[in-house]
Amino acid sequence: MKHIFQLRIGPVGFRVGSDWRGPVDAVAALYDDYPKPFDGIPDFNVRLFAERPWRRVLRPSVMIGGDYELPDAAPLPLRLGLLAAEMGMNLQMALGQRRYLLLHAASVERDGRALLMTGVSGAGKSTLAALLMARGWRLMGDEFALVDPETGLVHGFPRLVSLKNQAIEVVERAAPGARFGPLQPDTPKGHIRHLKPDAASIAAMDVPARAVAILFPSFGHAPDLRPVPPAETFVRLTQASTNYVALRERGFHALTRLVTGVPAHAIDYPDTEAAIEMVERLWEQSA
């Protein structure tokens, strides 16, 4: 491909190739101080390419491909090239990751101990992770947490935090010094703006942590906190994993170990301030 950028996010190396300069420049600008893949060999390739040769210049639309592809993926307009690159990397992880049990969860760390937050899209895990980072937590990732089946430890995947719609302004206010990508209006998921993880989170990306709490946040309800028993946590996390089945017995042991060793809670929250307060209080109790 004509334009190429290589990077590593946590333990996973990527090579992003594109028919156009724009998406690669956008990725390179925000991932400027990320390391390169181990030994220069990426784990996954992402390809951003034109559907037809003439679509490279005329009404350019970006097809997302790579080592793993979805047959019916719709192209994005070139102005959303950064989003296309991010979606491409996520897709490779979701479809191709076999070394770690992949949980669709945000994770933050403090004092060597990790908090996992998982929930349906819109539950607020990216927003909460970004706000906790602004309060001094280490951001391990807003999208994927990687559980090592050998050690049970959680490895970070601190890609750019994907903030959507109202969350953009909330985080801009809470983290005025943070670095944001360009606003990408009118995407298939609404307005999106990416937040770059802070320097401390990037510097510590290779340091795994022991999970000590699992949270299922749910936005838009009166405040409530209730324990979630291990079997229910197990079922919810199999649903939150894209590769639980593919990992077979390794996945089973990694997940049963996690849910029997780590307490889980569901929290309902009306606004982000209430959520942060609930998380901090729960954290103090679990310390």
Partner: protein
Amino acid sequence: MVPLDELTAVYHRTSGQTHLVAAPVPEILAALEGAPATLDVLLARLAERYDLADPDPEALAARLAELETLGLVQRR
């Protein structure tokens, strides 16, 4: 088999499927593990290990039929 709470997670190697089961299934599977048995022998084994309120061979046969459907036990 990994006990979680009142439910136990069972990984079935042959099919790659995970099952969440409640009592008396984990107890039945444990009693059969590596030691095939007839219905009567199995019931005797369970009675020996647990306080069975009602040692009913018909109920046990029904549970075994369900587990056979899932592929977790085999009839020989």
